[in-house]
């Protein structure tokens, strides 16, 4: 496949997370048909493609929210298995889902610690699930995560997520992903619901993640944003790879062509 060479170009940095030949079927729908994907530390890898191309599915598979039917997972030089969100979190993989996956009935600090609530020391006779939550520690952590992202409009980490604006929710979903010990952060269309100023903030956060040596995967439909922040762009189409480009070597027109028509047609046109 021609895409293979460009997918792992000679100039590409050594990958931190790499998946090969990922297949995922939902009943009759073959959503991923042998996808290869990689991302290195200190880089933003954009993942683009038409609606239904399989971007979100690939991301969920990497995050352990769906289990791949086939495929190899490598982190640095070690083969790993990701069968649950826990596996992914252990490996330092964190996700900001397209639908944010926040609990609107809980407050900001509870959402930020969801599934990993700190419990008070002591009470060792009780199973962990029944020990008292250290909610002050939880608030301190939440406050730190919020401060790091500089969400100035948020009044209190004790406000319910249900009452927050779209931008604030997005910020909280991002804070949840980067607040924990993570080396890979996947963001699924994080700016789709945001205004100009809030989009700016999210893009700044993504750049800061790259500067702190995270491996960032950024899914978006907005090619202007993609070309601004991404180092490489991976194009998916109908659940398969088209190719991966370095941003320096391509232009939006080429990407749009690859997204809508794939490579072969483009080559045909070029000939």
């Amino acid at each position: 496949m021609t895409g293979k060479d460009s997918a792992v170009g000679r100039s590409a940095p050594p990958s931190h997370l790499r998946v090969y030949g990922v297949h995922k079927r939902f009943g009759g729908v073959h959503a991923l048909r042998g996808v290869d994907f990689e991302v290195a530390r200190g880089e933003v890898m954009a993942l683009v493609g038409d609606n239904g191309a399989g971007k979100s599915t690939l991301m969920k598979v990497i995050a352990g929210a769906h289990t791949a039917d086939e495929g190899e997972f490598w982190m640095d030089d070690r083969q790993v298995t990701v069968n649950s969100p826990h596996d992914a979190a252990e490996l330092g993989i964190q996700v900001v889902y397209q639908d944010l996956a926040l609990c609107e009935n809980l407050d900001v600090s509870a959402n930020l610690s969801l599934g990993a609530e700190p419990v008070s020391s002591g009470w060792r006779i009780l199973p962990r699930m029944l020990r008292p939550i250290d909610d002050l520690e939880m608030e301190v952590r939440a406050q730190k995560a919020i401060n790091r992202l500089e969400v100035r409009t948020l009044k209190s980490v004790r406000s319910n997520v249900g009452g927050l604006s779209g931008g604030q929710r997005q910020a909280i979903a991002i804070a949840r992903a980067v607040g924990t010990e993570s080396s890979v952060v996947l963001l699924d269309e994080p700016t789709a619901a945001l205004g100009v100023a809030q989009t700016r903030q999210v893009l700044d956060v993504v750049k800061r993640l790259r500067d702190t040596n995270h491996a960032v995967v950024y899914i978006s439909h907005n090619l202007r944003d993609v070309f601004e922040i991404a180092d490489r762009i991976c194009v998916l189409r109908h659940g398969g790879n088209v190719a991966t480009w370095s941003v320096k070597d391509t232009a939006p027109d080429e990407i749009v062509g690859a997204m809508t028509r794939g490579l072969d047609v483009r080559d045909g046109n070029a000939a």
């Binding site: 009935n105 809980l106 599934g115 008292p132 002050l136 608030e139 209190s156």
Partner: protein, 407 residues
């Protein structure tokens, strides 16, 4: 946040319901209104409209009636506390009363066969857990909607109860079982207990505030803290003094409060409880952060089964007998679901509290008791309960955050 002037009454209601304390307000208002109506308005009306009356008789608000009211509401409240747990998940349990019936019947049969009372109670509680968890397994692992599973459970357990009690009635004379409803805490110790409780809650609130300060977190206003403590103290002392002025604080009420405190603590302050709220709020996101949603569901149904069994024990103890109509075949189920919902626990999942269930049980109990006192028919009672239930669910629907959770 909207500017102050643009907020409608619905927005205000919504904001009120979001706060921890504000969720109590609607049910407390309902309770106050019902008590005022039956306790003050009806007696005054009777007095003025009856030229022969020699004095106003405040029967409803008499210590004796309040005492009975609490005892009558205790079984409903126990079941409602359990049902609240599954409502928080966004599920429902229609079989709770039938489970209570089976457990009570089994208890009767066991003590009749000579099993010691305490052991019979433990066995029955275990059976309750199994009966609840079995339904939970069907909901979580087979994926049948809880409405259907527990409707089948309701029918099946009703049948089971009739199998255990072919005559439909059984007297229970076991002293241990009877003592739960009979034992009274001496007046003095009741007051000591109330004082200790208030002191404990105050100390907890102050320690919390001090810790918040030490860690540099935003502080609650002193007014809010002392307001809550004072409110709590008034409730506790009023209840104990009222009980004391008729008889004394019954052990059963104390057990109910202790159980509710335990379940309340588990639901609000442990990772398990947090996961119940998370599943009720957004099950998919709970799953994605790695919570075992299925196991949480089964555990929640197990807790309802346990509370139903305890409700069955309380009922058997209070009536001194087990009858089909008092549990499975009667109005207990609808009253306890009604109590949970009137208390403000959302049918849509993720919002509510077990304490509200107790207040809701008092609303239902007061309504029945008040209508009985004023000589209303069973038909009137049913219609009033229906109206209150609709009102409670309407408040729930209106005060839900606009749009719901995005899917």
């Amino acid at each position: 946040m909207l500017p102050e002037t643009n907020r409608t009454i619905v927005d205000r209601l919504r904001e009120l319901r979001q706060t921890r304390f504000g969720a109590f307000v609607p049910v407390l208002l309902a309770l106050a209104a019902i008590w005022f109506y039956f306790g003050v308005a009806v007696p005054l009306w009777d007095f003025w409209s009856d030229p022969d009356a020699t004095g106003i008789r405040f029967i409803f608000l008499s210590p004796r009636n309040i005492y009975n009211l609490f005892m009558q509401s205790a079984v409903i409240a126990t079941l409602a506390v359990g049902i609240t747990i599954v409502l928080l998940l966004g599920d429902i349990d229609l079989s709770a009363a039938a489970t209570a019936g089976v457990c009570a019947a089994l208890l009767g049969v066991l003590v009749l066969a000579g099993v010691p009372g305490w052991l019979a109670c433990l066995i029955v509680m275990g059976v309750g857990i199994v009966m609840g968890a079995a339904q939970g397994l069907l909901v979580a692992y087979v994926g049948i909607p809880s409405f259907v599973v527990t409707l089948a459970g309701l029918l099946g357990y009703q049948g089971l109860m009739q199998k255990i009690l072919p005559t439909g009635n059984l007297n229970i004379g076991d002293p241990f079982v009877r003592s739960i409803a009979r034992v009274l805490i001496p007046d003095f110790w009741g007051l000591v207990l109330a004082t200790a409780l208030v002191a404990f809650v105050t100390a907890l609130a102050l320690r919390r505030q001090a810790r918040r300060k030490a860690r540099g977190l935003e502080l609650d206003s002193g007014l809010a803290i002392w307001g809550q403590v004072a409110f709590f103290a008034v409730l506790v002392y009023a209840a104990v003094i009222t009980m004391n002025s008729y008889r004394s604080l019954p052990l059963m009420i104390l057990l109910l409060v202790a159980l509710t405190a335990l379940v309340g603590w588990v639901t609000t302050s442990t990772p398990f409880g947090r996961s119940i709220f998370a599943v009720g709020g957004n099950a998919e996101s709970a799953r994605r952060v790695g919570m075992n949603v299925k196991r949480i569901r089964v555990a929640a149904f197990g807790i309802v089964g346990l509370m139903a069994a305890i409700g069955g024990i309380f009922g058997a103890s209070r009536f001194g007998s087990v009858s089909y109509t008092a549990f499975a075949g009667g109005s207990l189920l609808l009253e306890s679901i009604g109590a949970a919902v009137i208390g403000g626990t959302s049918l849509f999942g993720g919002r509510g509290s077990v304490w509200n269930a107790i207040l809701g049980a008092l609303v239902i109990g007061s309504l029945g008791n008040g209508l009985d006192l004023s000589g209303a028919s069973a038909a009137d009672k049913l219609m009033f309960s229906g109206a209150i239930l609709i009102l409670a669910v309407a408040i729930d629907s209106i005060s839900r955050p606009a749009g719901g959770s995005p899917r």
